[in-house]
């Protein structure tokens, strides 16, 4: 059985990464630049010497939002998944320069304990996390899936949720994804 793992978007990023290392060879003079984007609804401007720095490290180490995780650095595990203009993106290979002017949402902006996103609410109800490290990536991937397919079938889930969880919480995640779809439908009907 094949688990080919690496999704389409990341292949582009891997190619880009190669270009980046070529650039570095010649780039003796450090250029400082500003990149501006919205993160969790707030406009931020970061000063950076390497515009190809993965968005993940900007989010984690400059903006100090640690909910987005590093797992593999090759877009193969999905732990770093966040939203860029509503799309689920594996941020460990997404150059920060592409974020210019865009809307970024991380797990911290998805919802909080007082106002949880339906996905987070479902994750709480089903008591999904074990070690918890991969969970933000799964929740971000799920939120993006539900935005496109509000009532995903099991097959939709199998095809779209391709992150890696080592504790093996997939069984509860599947239940939580269906539950989140229910919660989202109910809340949109009420509003």
């Amino acid at each position: 059985m094949q688990n080919d793992g690496i999704p389409y978007a990341s292949i582009f990023c891997i190619l880009f990464q190669k270009k980046l290392s070529q650039q570095l060879k010649f780039n003796k003079n450090v250029i400082i630049m500003n990149i501006s984007f919205f993160i969790n609804g707030e406009q931020k401007s970061v000063t950076i010497t390497d515009e190809n720095t993965p968005l993940l490290w900007v989010v984690r180490d400059i903006l100090n939002l640690k909910g987005t995780k590093f797992g593999c650095g090759k877009a193969a595990c999905g732990a770093c998944t966040l939203h860029v203009d509503g799309e689920a993106v594996r941020s460990c290979l997404y150059p920060v320069k592409f974020a210019e002017g865009k809307q970024i949402i991380t797990i911290e902006g998805l919802g909080d304990a007082k106002n949880p996103h339906p996905v987070q609410q479902a994750w709480v109800e089903e008591i999904v996390p074990q070690c918890g490290y991969c969970q933000p990536g799964f929740m971000m991937a799920t939120a993006a899936l539900l935005a496109k397919i509000p009532n995903p079938t099991d097959e939709d889930i199998d095809q779209n949720i391709v992150n890696v969880c080592r504790c093996g919480t997939y069984y509860r995640m599947r239940k939580a994804i269906h539950r989140a779809a229910e919660l989202a439908t109910t809340s949109s009907e009420n509003s």
């Binding site: 390497d50 180490d61 939002l65 995780k69 797992g71 650095g73 074990q130 490290y133």
Partner: protein, 721 residues
């Protein structure tokens, strides 16, 4: 069950009040005798492991804050197994506080409440079952006595609810009762409550760390940061056995962001202002390695073979050797399992801040004490100058039973005089893992005229698992001979067979091998329970009835039979193929916890699909049934992943693959849509939970495939021809 009813000696319970401005620290020590001297093999296989506390004082277990919150300093780390939740439940019941009032934190090494060995081996709840409840009950009585004296009443006049004492129309919180008390009266350890009266123990309460994990709180080692922190990267070898000789760092030194190149006798690294700058600079360092040999998978496979290395008979009953030396009517089969990677999602790493006289290290580790001691030795510090702050682990699974990478972070921090964060990248994590060793099993049996087993022998060849690990100090090696990790789950559990024996063949491999959740259980159970299925078929018997008929009539046997019956009944086990689906059965006993599983599989496009797993397990007293279920579900999926997909190869001296995807693992689409867990409690103490349910899954799948296709798969990962 024989269980220590010994109470905490009064003189061991020291109390120191008002140590902190925010509240009060209760300080106690709880020390059992070291079981090694009593024979660790017996201890591990037949009794629940005791808790081995650090012998230094003070040891801080509880802190009561002014807002009446109880902080429990856990000597065990939380890596997903739910220990924090179970410990909170145990505390809440005996201390008579609500769950919401308890905050469980990792005990930093300065608190003294660190485990002598490690967090591992499915022992956290079982080992703390008595000590923690006794400490909580003793503390409750002490608080009650102080409150009575402050209120001018007798302690018996007071009742307690949610950390508030009341009597005679007056109330007082725990925090008020303990405030300003410096001279404590220590009572005899009170009797523990009847387990039936517990309000929290036994209830499926939500995990205490659920909110942090759902809303993205920075709770993991990799989330740690300190002011003015820099980023380190260390060049790690790609080749097996590579020894660091020297490095050319001239190119790296001039790269953007580089603060300092660190050259040590045993490693070379770089400190820079960001993670990516450190990574880029590291990649520009040219290292000369000494490499003795370019190992290949075939070399490793030829090492791991029954007959190679030293044999140790670890189980013997009757004359299996004599009976099985007669070639006539002998049934034999061989099984194999591959090298497995831990592949936990959070890489190893640490944040270190070393000053002239103090080292502070924040990291995910299963071994707080060992890490502290190793860093102290390297920096030439006293142990109490090294402060380890453990964090939540982004997966443990045995990968963090040794975390010497923290030494490198500490050395780099000392060199630059600032905090340094240094983490593995994924390739380094895969290539420098402490792998689950590959195994080779040879099984032999002879049936009697009634179709039951006359004699059975299990030979297992494995790389080391537990030797050299902090769970089993090297002192135990000469006592044990065989590696108890390698034969975990390797012993024959059908003890009414008149003649049986198990032989462990020890083999040292050229790369690091260690604990991988459940140790040898996965591979050993795969071999033994596949073979049991083959024997049942040869005897023309139902595999469930065949097993039940050969289990002895004692306490262990009773518990094993009950889980076997429960799983078979709940799943409606049948040997018939229905609607293209077949069932497979297997059972195991791991550290006194029996577990039986029935799987339902089909095949589509030559691919095995597991639809449903029914799991019956008896871990004894269950502190949190939901968390025990979660552990069963997770262990089943992790075990499926290892049995069906995972395999590390050795190519030209390098372990490969080095990334998820090529290292195939179970994903959402592979996970069964139904997992039905049946929990039994036929023992009066809590036993192992996190690892036992990993045992049967591989064999159960292989046995189902045989019923479906007639193909007997004897090599993991299971692949159809």
């Amino acid at each position: 069950m024989d269980k220590k009813e010994k109470k905490i000696p009064r003189r061991k319970f020291l109390i120191r009040g008002a140590l902190s401005t925010v509240g009060v620290l209760a300080v106690g020590t709880y020390i059992f005798k070291n079981p090694i001297r009593r024979g660790i093999a017996t201890a591990i296989n037949t009794t629940d492991a005791p808790y081995l506390g650090d012998t230094s004082t003070p040891v801080i277990w509880f802190e009561i804050t002014e807002n009446n919150t109880i902080i429990l300093y856990s000597p065990k780390v939380e890596m997903g197994q739910g220990t924090f939740t179970g410990l909170a439940q145990m505390t809440a019941d005996e201390l008579e506080v609500s769950m919401e009032q308890i905050q469980v934190v990792h005990a930093p090494s300065a608190s003294g409440n660190i485990d002598e060995f490690a967090t591992g081996g499915s022992t956290s709840i079982s080992s703390l079952w008595m000590p923690l409840r006794e400490l909580a009950a003793t503390m409750r009585e002490m608080i009650k006595n102080e409150a009575a004296s402050k209120l001018g009443m007798a302690p018996v006049q007071l009742t307690i609810k949610n950390g508030v004492l009341s009597g005679g129309g007056k109330t007082m919180t725990y925090a008020e009762a303990v405030k300003d008390i410096t001279d404590w009266n220590v009572p005899e350890t009170p009797n523990l409550k009847d387990t039936k009266t517990y309000k929290y123990i036994g209830k499926p309460l939500a995990r205490v760390d659920l909110k942090e994990k759902v809303f993205g709180s920075p709770i993991f080692g990799m989330d740690a940061s300190l002011p003015n922190m820099l980023y380190g990267a260390v060049v790690r070898p790609s080749n097996i056995g590579a020894k660091y000789i020297t490095a050319n760092t001239s190119k790296a030194a001039g790269m953007p962001g580089v603060i300092k190149i660190i050259k040590e006798p045993d490693f070379v690294g770089v400190v820079a202002t960001s993670r990516m700058e450190a990574e880029h600079a590291k990649n520009a360092i040219e290292v000369t390695w000494e490499i003795d040999r370019n190992w290949q998978t075939a070399d490793i496979e030829s090492l791991i073979a029954v007959g190679n290395g030293k044999p140790f008979v670890i189980q013997k009953e009757g004359d299996a050797k004599g009976i099985l030396s007669d070639e006539e009517a002998l049934i034999t089969a061989e099984y194999k399992s591959p090298i497995g990677a831990h592949a936990q999602l959070e890489p190893n790493g640490a944040v270190a801040h070393v000053t002239a006289d103090k080292a502070t290290i924040i990291l995910s580790t299963q071994v707080v004490k060992l890490t502290r001691d190793e860093i102290a030795e390297r920096l030439n510090f006293e142990k109490n100058q090294v402060h380890i702050i453990p964090t939540f682990l982004g997966g443990g699974f045995g990968r963090r039973l040794h975390t010497p990478n923290a030494i490198q972070a500490a050395v780099m921090s000392k060199a630059v005089g600032k905090p340094v964060k240094c983490f593995f990248n994924r390739k380094e994590e895969f290539q420098n893992d402490t792998f689950r060793p590959p195994t080779h099993h040879v099984l032999k049996a002879k049936l009697n005229p009634d179709g039951l087993i006359e004699a059975l022998e299990h030979n297992v060849s494995s790389g080391d698992v537990a030797f050299g690990s902090p769970m089993v100090p090297s002192i135990a090696a000469p006592i044990l001979g065989a590696d108890l990790g390698a034969w975990r789950g390797g012993m024959i559990q059908y003890e009414s067979i008149p003649n049986f024996r198990t032989i462990s063949w020890r083999q040292k491999l050229p790369f690091a091998t260690s604990w991988w959740r459940s140790l040898g259980l996965l591979a050993n159970t795969f071999a033994i329970e596949s073979f049991m299925d083959e024997l049942a078929i040869a005897a023309k018997k139902d595999p469930v009835a065949f097993r039940l008929a050969q289990i002895q009539d004692d306490d262990r046997g009773y518990r094993l039979k009950e889980v076997i019956k429960a799983a078979a009944h709940k799943a409606g086990y049948t040997n018939d193929v229905k609607n293209g689906r077949a069932m497979g059965f297997a059972a195991s006993t791991d550290t006194n916890t029996p577990c039986a599983q029935v799987v339902e599989v089909s095949i589509k496009d030559n691919t095995i699909k597991v639809h449903k797993v029914t799991c019956a397990m008896d871990p004894g007293i269950i502190v949190n049934p939901d968390q025990v279920r979660a552990q069963c579900e997770g262990a089943i999926i992790m075990g499926m992943s290892a049995s069906m997909f995972e395999k590390m190869e050795v190519e030209d001296g390098m372990l490969t693959p080095t990334i998820y995807g090529p290292y195939q693992m179970a994903l959402m689409r592979n996970a069964p849509k139904e997992i039905d867990v049946v929990l039994l409690q036929n023992a009066d103490t809590p036993g192992a939970v996190g690892e036992p349910p990993l045992g049967p899954i591989g064999a159960a799948i292989a046995n189902a495939i045989f019923r479906l296709t007639g193909q007997r798969l004897r090599t993991m990962p299971l692949q159809l021809s």
